[in-house]
Subunit: 760 residues, 2 copies
Amino acid sequence: MKYFIFSILLLHLNLISAQQNLIKYVKPIIGSEKMGHTYPGATVPFGAVQLSPETDTISYELNGKYNGDVYKYCAGYKYEDKTIVGFSHTHLSGTGHSDLGDFLVMPTQGKLQLNPGTASDTKSGYRSAFSHSNEISEAGYYKVKLDDHAIIAEMTATTRVGMHQYTFPKSDESHIILDLMAGIYNYDEKNVWTYIRVVNDSLITGYRQTNGWARTRTVYFAMSFSKPFANYGQKNYDTKQSYRGFWRKFDESKNFPEIAGKKIRMYFDFKTEEAEKIKIKFALSSVSQENALENMQSEIKDWNFEKVKTDAQKLWNDELNKIKIEASEDNKKNFYTAMYHTFINPTAYTDVNGQYKGLDQDTHTANGFTNYSTFSLWDTYRALHPFFNIIQPSRNNDMIKSMMAHYKQSALHMLPIWSHYSNDNWCMSGYHSVSVIADAIIKGVYNGDPNEALDACVATAKHRNYEGIGTYMDLGFIPDEKSGTSVSNTLEYAYDDWCIAQLAKKLDRQEIYEEFIKRSSNWKNNFNPTTGFMQPKLANGTFKSNFDAMTTHGQGFIEGNSWNYSFFVPHNPTELIAKMGGKSAFSDRLDTLFSMHLPDSFFAETEDITREGIIGGYVHGNEPAHHVAYFYNWTNEPWKTQYQVRKIMKMQYKPTPNGLGGNDDCGQMSAWYIFSSLGFYPVAPGSTEYAIGSPLVNNAVLTLENGKMFTIEVLNQKDKNVYVQKIVLNGKPLPTLFINHNDITAGGKLTFYMGSKPKK
Amino acid sequence: MKYFIFSILLLHLNLISAQQNLIKYVKPIIGSEKMGHTYPGATVPFGAVQLSPETDTISYELNGKYNGDVYKYCAGYKYEDKTIVGFSHTHLSGTGHSDLGDFLVMPTQGKLQLNPGTASDTKSGYRSAFSHSNEISEAGYYKVKLDDHAIIAEMTATTRVGMHQYTFPKSDESHIILDLMAGIYNYDEKNVWTYIRVVNDSLITGYRQTNGWARTRTVYFAMSFSKPFANYGQKNYDTKQSYRGFWRKFDESKNFPEIAGKKIRMYFDFKTEEAEKIKIKFALSSVSQENALENMQSEIKDWNFEKVKTDAQKLWNDELNKIKIEASEDNKKNFYTAMYHTFINPTAYTDVNGQYKGLDQDTHTANGFTNYSTFSLWDTYRALHPFFNIIQPSRNNDMIKSMMAHYKQSALHMLPIWSHYSNDNWCMSGYHSVSVIADAIIKGVYNGDPNEALDACVATAKHRNYEGIGTYMDLGFIPDEKSGTSVSNTLEYAYDDWCIAQLAKKLDRQEIYEEFIKRSSNWKNNFNPTTGFMQPKLANGTFKSNFDAMTTHGQGFIEGNSWNYSFFVPHNPTELIAKMGGKSAFSDRLDTLFSMHLPDSFFAETEDITREGIIGGYVHGNEPAHHVAYFYNWTNEPWKTQYQVRKIMKMQYKPTPNGLGGNDDCGQMSAWYIFSSLGFYPVAPGSTEYAIGSPLVNNAVLTLENGKMFTIEVLNQKDKNVYVQKIVLNGKPLPTLFINHNDITAGGKLTFYMGSKPKK
């Protein structure tokens, strides 16, 4: 007994001690195989640069053909591949649609080749074979040996600058390729324009403009070499170049410093000694070359690669130390890699001088906040932003300010749907900015004007000509004739409307509250009491015939069939349960979801997930049912939540390259995991309530920005002890299976007593 | 006699009186037919906006075909045409290559048509027939009736804003088209990108990016309507648009405010009453939409079209009043239209807040000067900039500051060759910035650092990999094997080098002086004493065989054959005369040039001029021989200069649409006329000396910026009295046929006594 107490004390000391080395648990390679769509390269928390290898890119042309496998290469890198094309500076983490891949750099030696070549014959181009045994992927650091060129490539980053370090063999023909044709997207006209200026023999600047998932996007850069290049040159692969023939006064192919065109590849020649290192600093800006250069000069002052790496890893370790856990090695890997993945997006989109390019394509200055981009809100409103409200409130505050800036710059007068580098790509359904905003304001995280924010939410929710909102407002649902995703839209709008109502209530804006609390019950209009399912309705008010609850497409849904989506009333489970026949029937129905057998046709049409991303009929690899396992808490069988969430954590998250069962979706999958590991989950952001699940950690200490600590202690934790027997909050038994946000931010201790049998 | 004296007094009083209405003599339509390549629309002196009708544009697609007649439509408007396509905001004046034509606006009524239609069937599109009888073209004002739509179109401008006024008939279907596909250039991929933002129901902003003669060019705009549009919409004609299908959440064709793409046409719908006027303010910026809006708000505060027009015409009148002449009505029209054309280019390229886009594509601020673009220097160094040194010294000072800014922003570290909207199009030969700079510094016009300017000249002249400079420096000439224009290049470099030498001498930079005075005699290396002609030389030092002095192409020249170009030693006629066999032989040779008969093959290959642009073998419509008529002054027959220049003025300049015998070339042709009309000409800019010709005016008073007045009095002026009998400067007979720049800037009076017989 004495020993036990001593251990607890030791543990506690350990958890609150200065800092642990936690980055050793981060395995960026997790999710890089199959469906996770994560990337293994170097970035810092919320960094604007994601410097990562690409094993294939979409936008390059090879023998007149484009690689059409856009979906596979959303993150540029597939663990399954055997060759690396190069290292580019921007990547989306875990998305199901592709873009970015800007400024592909590749070191080579021997005969200069400007085309990437094929994976089956690396000698046909500049690409190289590589082996995972020669690859190191850490938070803030990536290293690989490029077999074809006998070059060691290393990379690290600051917020706005990627740093490369290439160790060359002795060669009179060492090269660094800068491929400005390369990019990630499935459209051969993605490259709109490229401009490059060779300032001197070791600095170039320029910009690249693309028409990809982000429609109108410009990225400026500054690229500095640690060693002057001996020669440089370029080739323009555009077959339809402007007529300038008569006035070509220069040989523009070699050592010509003012380059512009649509499809440019550049090279830089060096003579290298054995093991000579050539380093590159590559800075980005959304505003100007000048700003890119300022970003570079501010963030990396010299050529000390090790220092930049150490600093990057310290930034990561600082972030990771905000939650110290005790858990198995594998669970620590899963947990800290999940934290790593939640701290990648959104990404900083402000230069060091505060400037950024707004949605209106003009330059703005972010006064008193960091502007962010890459808001995959349909995914991330669920758990990522709620997680930030606990562990990154300052950043989430800035993210809401970024959304408000987007709103003010929007000619549509709308909050972002999917904020994407000075664009909205309007991807997926709902207007979930309002959930993020309401949740943050209700939880006291936003320090801007809450009434202005509410007005922005209302304006967005009343934008009649956006995706059926007009008919939704008129009829209370979207007729199937008007939209292929009428049901999921109506359900998501209803939830978002509830968020607006909650915010209006808090701000004492009674009229808005009443309007939106009424709208929030619109989910009922798609509920068919006869079948017990959410179903598409026709304009005449009748349900569409030939309903199939197993099928997504053509049935009014997106990324989830009616079996999953019928549970999408996160803001009113009580009434949903009543509609579905009461607690017992509801619980049985959840059981069926988690145990049903799916036909093969289901897998054929389901996007973004592997077969392993599904448990019974429950699709964890997509987001619409992420809250569903927690719904047992509203029934008389809450232990089934405990059972299911532990099962999901075990089945869907593994510390291996193929460890994610679906797209990580800019951190949403990972945020689900973190919440669930800690034992609770925000079923309805906009509410301050978290539903209790079954913690996976043995213990956890959250260090909050307000200086408070919140400890989660799990007693009798074992693999088979998934059932919660008792919960004590700050010494008092928890009366329900819910805790409040204030319980966490006030600091304190939540103790779980676990057992192998349900506590009925 | 008393009456005569009284008349003279009256005349003098008239000439120096407060202000005359001189814009009535300006006929912008002069040169708009055939080869002049001028435009008839509205602009202010050196304005950034040139709002002018287009009778056809190059870059629009019609039934899958492009109008290939790029050369014809350099200025967008051809007097010969019967239809107008629309009114765009940027035009080059008098060039022989095409670009610009940004933001074509066209008012229509009736059925909406978004394609321009054909000239032969105006009903097939939005274009309209028009008649010159319903057309008014004035300095700063243009008006035309669009017959197909029964709409009166009027336009005027400020420096950075074009103002339209359309008088509609009563119609429920009135439209204003904004065609963002239209543009002037011969390349169907000119449009790189377009972005438009509908800010509200009467304001849109955006930008247009092109790859034309200027390779990398972006023009931002703000467009404000005096009346809110009822509806608006767009069509994207790009057949290869980015994949965005699934995420099209809006009907983007109508009332959708965030538009982007390569080939966009927009429309704005109105309901109009009979004679209702809809006005548009259309502002440009090279920097941002925000700046365009600021330009608009600063320059036109309300909707008073008449006031803007009055202000524009006052600006013109102020400029024109700097030279008051007495002459025949026709000669006044020619003279003031020439002044008008000389004050169009270069164009202001700075926003009201001082910002502009530099050659490096970054935003810069012009501190203490107006930044200018559109420097057609191969043309304009000859007479336009020397004219500015007399009559626009402040602006020429700013122009040189603009050139220096260009130099500092140039990755090539070169002064401009042809400065073109943040680009250098490197058109034509030589590096004539150095002539403009040397001339201005030597004449005391430049208030920047002259040594820095000299360094920029030297760096440019030593840029070895530009257009044969390397071999020119090594061999003293450019081998024919290296360049198709080896002889004209060598000749022009030699003259430019002499300018550098003159500047170095003034600045006491002895080493530079010696180096460049030596280089300035390189013209001798292409002079073949056997033939007496400038001829292409091979790398082995021998002259190329099959020489043909009548032919330009393939003979080492550009825009001038050896007959014309062999006289291109403006800086050293004395030695050229010696080489060519002495004064008498030289004089005979000039006679031959002016009287020879040309074969038809000559006209087939000669660009930029009409058959009328040629006198004998002397090509006035192109520039290389512009100084040649003045060369008789160095012989014993100077009266032949007097005869020839009067003949050239009479034959080459007429107050009619087809009145210019060649491209006006951004004012060079006009500047030649102004100098010659006043009786003198700068044969070798860089020297302070002007060669005397034969004035066409009766009298002229130049009001200089330093407050001094310089009067040219011509006694016994008649059409046939082309010969100068005597010249008196400030009461003293002029000892030579040359006057000095200082004679002019000091103020005073130059009296010509004319007669019908040569004064031998």
